[in-house]
């Protein structure tokens, strides 16, 4: 959705001053070969932070992705944090054409071809440094000696300040290089131990809005909801019970309908007659006696009492 939002912002919010914080939850469509085990239409949830540059804006987006995933109950995940500027610095000294070629191969995940191209323009020592930079994960990236790696560390540090208490703060990892070409700075992917592809990804894309005529700093992320769902289920997550479903019988039809209405008004879920699909919820049989009372569990009781008796019922 990022390009679509960049266009809308560049046009509709052309005159807006200050920082825009946008969020969306929408269907996205992918032109993809069939039979690959992935959907062509799926839900994506994301945020975009537009008009703010620098480490504190990067940190804000990192904090929001972590907060969002923790809020839906995801426990095991790491945020792998890279930096496109740092990757460019690793290959400093290449001509612009060669550097473009190297980055294109890296975006396509082809490290072998990237280094084949890089070797034509860099000495052995530089090549070795670039290899170490892309292979390092964690603190090791600071030893590679590229200035943007420090920017990356700063953003992770600030994110921790913004959203304390979560241990999954982000691991420096310069091999995180998204396939899309518009990323310019800090980038990240959220990785679950249970899912083969990143469940969320994002980063800084300064320069994209300029293509639509409104040059502004921007960063954001998107969560692939089906992958998040898969990770949650593998994590042992289950939907919290919504309480019992009442299957209501008894009395004549007008009375039954009125009793059903009264029970629903007190917060209970009621179906008239038998229930074929309870969606995992407990089914409770209740019989209407008259407009004020029902029979439940062998006892007759006033309608108002039922909602306080049924465990886990209502809101």
């Amino acid at each position: 959705m990022t390009t679509a939002i960049a266009r809308v912002v560049a046009q509709r919010y052309r005159e807006a001053q200050g920082t825009l914080r946008l969020s969306y939850f929408t269907s996205v469509f992918r032109q993809d070969r069939s039979m690959r085990g992935s959907e062509r239409e799926y839900d994506q949830a994301g945020v975009e932070l537009i008009g703010a540059g620098g480490s504190s804006a990067d940190a804000e987006v990192l904090a929001v992705v972590c907060d969002a995933l923790a809020a839906v109950g995801l426990r095991s995940f790491t945020i792998e944090v890279g930096h496109i500027g740092a990757v460019r610095q690793l290959f400093e000294g290449l001509s612009p054409e060669l550097l473009d070629g190297v980055l294109a191969h890296l975006r396509a995940s082809d490290h072998v071809e990237a280094f084949r191209v890089a070797t034509t323009g860099l000495g052995a020592e530089r090549i070795e440094r670039a290899r170490r930079g892309l292979a390092a994960r964690g603190r090791g990236i600071e030893d590679v000696g590229v200035p943007a790696a420090l920017e990356l560390r700063e953003a992770i540090h600030l994110a921790r300040e913004l959203y304390p208490g979560e241990p999954r703060w982000g691991v420096p990892n310069l091999s995180v290089i998204p396939p899309l070409p518009y990323y310019t700075g800090l980038v990240f992917e959220v990785v679950s131990p249970h899912v083969g592809a990143p469940i969320a990804a994002g980063g800084r894309y300064d320069g994209l809005l300029a293509r639509y005529g409104s040059d502004r700093a921007a960063t954001g992320f998107a969560i692939a909801v089906p992958l998040l769902h898969r990770a949650l289920v593998a994590d042992g997550w289950a939907l919290a019970s919504d309480g019992a479903l009442i299957s209501l019988t008894g009395a004549d039809e007008p009375v039954r309908l009125r009793v059903a209405g009264a029970l629903r008004a007190s917060g209970l879920a009621v179906a008239i007659g038998p229930i074929a699909e309870s969606a995992g919820r407990r089914v409770v049989k209740v019989e209407a006696i008259d407009e004020r009372s029902v029979r439940y569990d062998g006892r007759s009781l006033p309608i108002e009492e039922l909602s306080s008796i049924l465990p886990g019922a209502g809101e």
């Binding site: 070969r33 995940s109 994960r137 990892n173 995180v176 992917e189 679950s192 899912v195 083969g196 990143p198």
Partner: protein
């Protein structure tokens, strides 16, 4: 103990080369033959033996963490996997070939008809190549014996994988241009490469040193 590193190996022509590479960097390979799944090294490593063209699929979906696949297979599969190390064996080339001496005639034909017919077992590689060149072609997908296609009038040109070029010569074909040089690669799942960097990084390092980077 952590879960075993799942390693997808290709049965077929590069199986022996893959085995040799693994043995050279000290991984156990003795029992690699019959079973499709094999857990070795006290549970640290699990081999999954797969059809070569399925290896990228296993790795892309995270059913295997790493694998060995020819670059030819990777180019045709289009799966999103990390291509980490050139293992240097299983060398071959994707080429465009045409009946020897017919280049002028087929270009003339292209000018008149506006498109060429190209027979291949690798439709995606062929399509991508000609798209990048701006040459309009109709791809005819075949299951094998592609070198016969120009002889029987099925296609003007072919796109095929060659190692020595002998089959081309025997069928009166000549290379028009090379599309890509291919060899076996160590590939990794993107997510696995992040969360299991120590083991996969170490494996990549040792294989790269063995292949003489």
């Amino acid at each position: 103990m952590s879960a075993p590193l799942r390693f997808a190996l290709p049965l077929g022509t590069i199986f022996e080369g893959s085995k040799g590479a693994l043995a050279a960097v000290g991984l156990p390979t003795d029992d690699l033959a019959g079973d499709r799944r094999l857990v070795v090294k006290g549970g640290e490593l699990e081999y999954i033996l797969a059809r070569p063209s399925d290896v990228p699929t296993y790795v892309a979906h995270g059913a295997a963490d790493v694998g060995i696949a020819g670059r030819d297979v990777l180019m045709e599969s289009d799966e999103d996997v990390l291509d980490l190390v050139d293992l240097r064996f299983g060398a071959c080339r994707f080429v465009v070939a045409a009946p020897a001496g017919s280049l002028e005639r087929s270009l003339d034909e292209y000018r008149h008809l506006g498109s060429l017919e190209v027979a291949t077992k690798y439709p995606k590689v062929a399509q991508r190549h000609f798209d990048a060149r701006g040459i309009q072609v109709e791809i005819i997908r075949l299951g094998g014996a592609v070198e016969l296609a120009p002889q029987v009038g099925l296609a003007d040109w072919i796109v095929d994988l060659v190692s020595t070029g002998r089959t081309l010569r025997e069928n009166g074909l000549a290379v028009v241009e090379e599309i890509a040089a291919c060899s076996a690669r160590l590939i990794a799942n993107r997510a696995a490469y992040a969360r299991d960097r120590l083991r996969i990084g170490d494996l990549a390092e040792r294989l790269a040193a063995w292949a003489g980077r």
